[in-house]
Symmetry: C3
Subunit: 286 residues, 3 copies
């Protein structure tokens, strides 16, 4: 995917606004006002409300396909508090040049995936807002104008003051309890269960292609579900109803069932924090 790298700048937009209300549409209208000819690509707006970690993971998964432009991301449980609004500067050629959103950890995993932050602006609140409007919609009032002005080429210094890169708020890192135990990162629409483990991690667990694993799901209440899964290269290698372990489109290990939902098979309800213990086993033993 190396061609046409001279793509014109765009605004990539992700939020937890959902699509039932008019929040997303209002932000689009503001972006159009400030950057009239710039296309806007909606990455997703279905981040669970207030779920900064899910939003950050979603942004990180989008990293490989992002081209020149600005990323606007709003998952902002701290709106109306003293949390800062920031623009994170990046310098890798061919990718986004700014990530705009709240300083709550949302933007950092994407910045790291794109070569790391090279600068930070602390956004100043525009002073030409209507006086009647409350302070509950920074996507409209603070972040969208900043993203649009940056993609339009306004001088960054007009938007706020520089801050040290290491002042950015980072999400807490979850450390596993050791051993072959991993966390669920994402359950997608099809019921595929992405784990916090990449393909080489599967290898380290002794799970080469064709090997079997005992998959143990420990729910938040301690309830345990066990199933047997086989590492495969693709959905098509699985029998009907068989649990598979494969490297998914983000390069991570995922529990899957061909044309069916692995989350349903394993009794996973959503994105709750659970744990999975993989163990090499002999297929004949079951």
């Amino acid at each position: 995917m190396s061609r046409r790298f001279d793509a014109s700048p765009v605004i990539f937009f992700l939020s937890d606004y959902g699509l039932d209300d008019e929040f997303v549409g209002v932000v689009h209208a503001v972006l159009h006002r400030w950057a009239p000819q710039v296309p806007v690509i909606d990455l997703a707006h279905g981040v669970p409300p207030y779920d900064v970690a899910s939003g950050a993971a979603m942004l990180e998964r989008c990293a490989p396909v992002l081209t020149t432009g600005v990323v606007l991301a709003v998952v902002d449980p701290g709106v109306g508090t003293d949390r800062l609004g920031v623009a994170v500067g990046l310098s890798r050629p061919g990718g986004p040049t700014w990530l705009v959103g709240p300083d709550n950890g949302l933007l950092v995993p994407l910045a790291d995936a794109l070569g790391g932050a090279s600068s930070v602006l602390v956004l100043e609140r525009p002073d030409d807002l209507g006086t009647q409007a409350g302070s509950t919609f920074d996507g409209r009032d603070l972040f969208a104008p900043a993203a649009a002005r940056l993609v339009w080429g306004d001088p960054p210094g007009e938007l706020g003051a520089a801050a040290p890169v290491d002042s950015l708020v980072r999400l807490p890192v979850h450390h596993g309890t050791g051993g072959p135990s991993v966390e669920v990162r994402w359950v997608d629409r099809f019921g595929n269960v992405e784990l916090d483990l990449d393909g080489s991690g599967l290898d380290e667990l002794g799970l080469a292609l064709g090997e079997w694993a005992e998959v143990t799901v420990v729910g938040p209440t301690g309830a345990v579900t066990t199933a047997r899964g086989r590492r495969v290269a693709a959905f098509g290698d699985l029998a009907s109803g068989e649990l598979g372990i494969l490297v998914d489109s983000a390069g991570r290990a995922a529990l899957v069932v061909d044309r069916d939902s692995a989350a349903h098979l394993l009794g996973l309800g959503g994105s709750e924090a659970i744990r999975l213990v993989a163990r090499r086993m002999d297929p004949a033993s079951t």
Copy 2:
């Protein structure tokens, strides 16, 4: 937000079509056919089916961010009846010039918010439709072509005949029962409950910043829920789980809980017609 007011014209699109079916996509395709280079900004398509009043309120909340162009809005329980299709002309500089949709009250609150209607066209049904198509999809067959032709600059007289501005159908106005009682206008994705009351209305009730109120929710069946709320300036002023009353991003009073759902706290199911009685109270009395 006064810069770049020379934004190129766009089509703003709102409906109750939802996003599961192809209705919205089909209308986009028709808009592209009739106005190929004109961007379309989706305001929202999650208006509850047939709910003209909710659609009208949503449009009205969008008013401050709309720029030059045409608004296409379709919440149309009367499709296939003798209700008229209209284009409402506006004349405030920098804003939309036409609002296109059914003549059922949907467009009037937005028109009023944008300076008032200055003209009305009654749309004639295009006569080059396929003869097989039924009369159930005026968004595709009547409103989208009209909106696209108006934004493209076709002479309005080609689309229909002028009608008096005061012939427009208006939604019934809900009058409160008097006293400090207000209606719920909107429950958003986050569970914030917007009331039919602006910030000065809160002041008139004696609810200055920091004051407390007894919030009484009377459901459709007469069931009563009571809670205590405090007027604050922002989410960040609230303790965890505390009910707050603040001026929201549309300038209206809203019941909120920081990082949680006020609708859930108060047992509100959705947008049902309920009433709220605010009363100044002494915090020490509880």
Copy 3:
């Protein structure tokens, strides 16, 4: 709708990805990379997961409004198997020139509606993918680049080898059991129930305008629901709560209730395979 037929080419995009995850946004980003100035029109992404027949029906309903460009459609339960990816060439002037997606029958009804396939390309997998990515997201890795390159004007021969038109996989055809029995094709957001029958089919059943029918719904378990319906020209011809039969916006017979849900009235849960038996009856007999 014959004007402005010189519309610039666009990409029409339909999938079963839903809008909660970032799949649709990622595909948009890839399309932008390969065809930067080409608008993308989302037809729908709410096809039920893996439901190729529903996706094919949805595409077919869109046929009349599609202009010049490329259709990208992904409902792909066989991703990661040896099913082929194809581009189906069309030659009707003014319509799409290529349909891109999996060779599982999804594209064929639309191709037939647009004059029939005139050529087929079997898509070769791009070899410049990152080595870490798994084979689960052909929308991103195979179909989007192909659609973008075709709309951009790259030589088709660069994308794959030609194959015979009659090699395309076709969906199984459902044959009725004979007599006046039809299948449900679609239940839309409003609860309108579209049948696999066009307006002339209603005439053949003896159901002219104003005639009555006994509508019998036989559920998957054999349970039977019976109601009386009247053929009308438009929603507005129905009394409140009355079941109607009309020709819908796709030219097909549909069971409807004015401003209410016919699916709810008849106890239909969704798109399950059911049957309907229409029989001319005397309104006085009930």
